[in-house]
């Protein structure tokens, strides 16, 4: 089971970047682009910084700059967690 789940992402995203009144985060958003969810590059940077601190991992700036969907971000974070565990 992934250590970093969509629910974790939702929680951190809302805490870091606020709730976007126009988008429903609770549906199936794994492949919905962050842009469509109302989250910009700053929101993702803030979220990534929080994830790094909470989970004690490092993710690359370039990966965060390129990531487009929640599925992509979960992958990056879980890869880093796996790498740390290894």
């Amino acid at each position: 089971m992934a250590a970093f789940t969509l629910d974790d992402l939702r929680r951190i995203l809302v805490s870091c970047a606020g709730e976007n009144d126009g988008a429903d985060l609770h549906g199936d958003i794994l492949d919905t682009p962050f842009r469509d969810l109302g989250y910009d590059s700053l929101a993702l940077m803030e979220t990534a910084a929080r994830v790094e601190r909470e989970y004690g991992i490092d993710v690359s700036d370039d990966d965060i700059a390129e990531v487009e969907t929640p599925r992509g971000l979960l992958g990056i974070v879980n890869d880093a967690l796996g790498a740390d565990a290894a």
Partner: protein, 422 residues
């Protein structure tokens, strides 16, 4: 009333040199003045390079009391204002203090002193509450940056309109534009206008670290600022100041003043897009350029040189390239364009005024300063960005542009007063 406005005095403090002469020598030689941060222990930071000035306020003639009460940015502004007045042959107060004003730009104002006060007040960050027993007399001066233009006004003997223009990273351009506007409309005859910022301090470094806007090229500080180069990865934080004496054209002529350039036109627009992000199309900067040219009654083909914002972030360089193409048409490919941030870094609110100084000196010397560190241009930045070496050529008319957080896009046209307009 629509009076002509000219620049008759310049004062500069920038990384790599003490005054206008050294500043121009650095730029025209294509030398760089960025280095590893020495002002504080930068080891915990992502970006550890900066454009720092070796500035000794006592040697610059400031008294111990002035040094104590003025933030570093204010010190830089006051020293430059004094230089500009002397350069212009204008005594403090000008012909009439009531008709003399100040327009000072700054993005982060007294950041350095604020941070120093904070460290004392909070016991180095340990306490959220402030110790009511520690109320240093200057805390208010750093809280509210009106102190900065006030100090310049006192140095300049100005009793006309005095203000700070704080439009983020376009402050330096917009402050000079504001000063020119006040003379143009008849609210003042002489304006001491320009900008200063001294942001090489941990809190400001942390701001740009957080959004990864500053470069992590820490292993090669002298070549870390690389606008338009394919290898660029952020700007280099810097400090600096430039102040000018602006005068009504006929009065300047009457007194036989040396006229560096006329402020022909200027405009600012907002992108209303994002506080830090830029749209790729450059639409609003292009509109500001068009409006500035229109006010100067010039066509794009009149431009001999464009002083770019050229911060060295990927989004800026592409945004700006698009804006030039959009506003200048075919002439965008013909006119030399360069970024002095490649040499002295990005001093936030101050840089716009330093770029005006560079533009005016380009006119003075008929030399286009280069973009240093530009070895392999980004294929998307396909204009003539004057790599590495300055060019001697005729320079009568210059466009200088700026772009900043908050979405501000500004443009100014400077030219020899005798250049014909349409």
């Amino acid at each position: 009333m629509n009076r002509r406005v000219v620049i008759t005095g310049i004062g500069v403090r920038a990384p790599g040199g003490a005054g206008t002469k050294e500043f121009w020598e650095l730029l025209s030689a294509g030398r760089t003045a960025t280095r590893g941060i020495t002002f504080f222990d930068a080891s915990p930071f992502r970006s550890r390079v900066a454009g720092e000035i070796d500035f000794d306020p006592a040697a610059e003639g400031l008294t111990p009391r002035e040094i104590r009460r003025m933030d570093r940015a204010t010190q830089l502004a006051v020293v430059c204002a004094r230089d500009a007045l002397a350069d212009s042959g204008t005594a403090p107060g000008g012909p009439d203090p009531h008709r003399t004003g100040v327009s000072l730009g700054s993005a982060v104002a007294s950041a350095t002193s604020l941070e120093n006060e904070y460290l004392v007040l909070s016991d180095a960050g340990a306490s959220w509450l402030a110790d009511p027993g520690y109320l240093s007399p200057h805390m208010f001066d750093y809280l509210s940056p009106g102190m900065m233009p006030a100090e310049v006004a006192w140095a300049a003997g100005a009793e006309g309109p005095v203000t700070m223009v704080s439009d983020g990273c376009t402050s330096g351009l917009d402050a000079v534009a504001h000063g020119a506007r006040l003379i143009q409309e008849g609210s003042a005859d002489v304006m001491v206008a320009g900008a200063a910022d001294a942001p090489v301090t941990p809190i400001v470094a942390a701001c740009f670290d957080a959004i990864k806007a500053t470069t992590p090229r820490n292993d090669d500080p002298a070549h870390a600022s690389r606008p338009f180069d394919g290898s660029r990865n952020g700007f280099v934080l810097a400090e600096g100041a430039a102040m000018f004496v602006l005068e009504e054209y006929r009065a300047a002529r009457r007194r036989g003043a040396r006229i560096y350039a006329e402020v022909g036109g200027f405009a600012t627009r907002c992108n209303a897009y994002h506080m830090t992000g830029l749209k790729k199309d450059g639409r609003e900067m292009a509109e500001a350029i068009r409006a500035a040219l229109d006010e100067a009654r010039m066509d794009p083909t009149a431009l001999d040189y464009v002083n770019a914002h050229g911060s060295g972030t990927r989004q800026n360089d592409r945004h700006e390239t698009a804006a030039f193409k959009r506003a200048l048409g075919p002439h965008a490919h013909a006119v030399p364009i360069s970024s002095i941030k490649s040499m002295i870094g990005h001093s936030l609110g101050a840089i716009g005024s330093l770029e005006i100084a560079a533009s005016v000196l380009a006119i003075e010397h008929h030399v286009v300063p280069p973009t240093a560190n530009l070895h392999t241009p980004d294929p998307e930045c396909d204009l003539d960005y004057v790599p590495l070496t300055a060019r001697e050529q005729r320079v009568d008319t210059v466009l200088s542009v700026g772009s900043g957080f908050g979405g501000f896009q500004s443009a100014m046209v400077l030219h020899r007063p005798e250049v014909a307009t349409r």
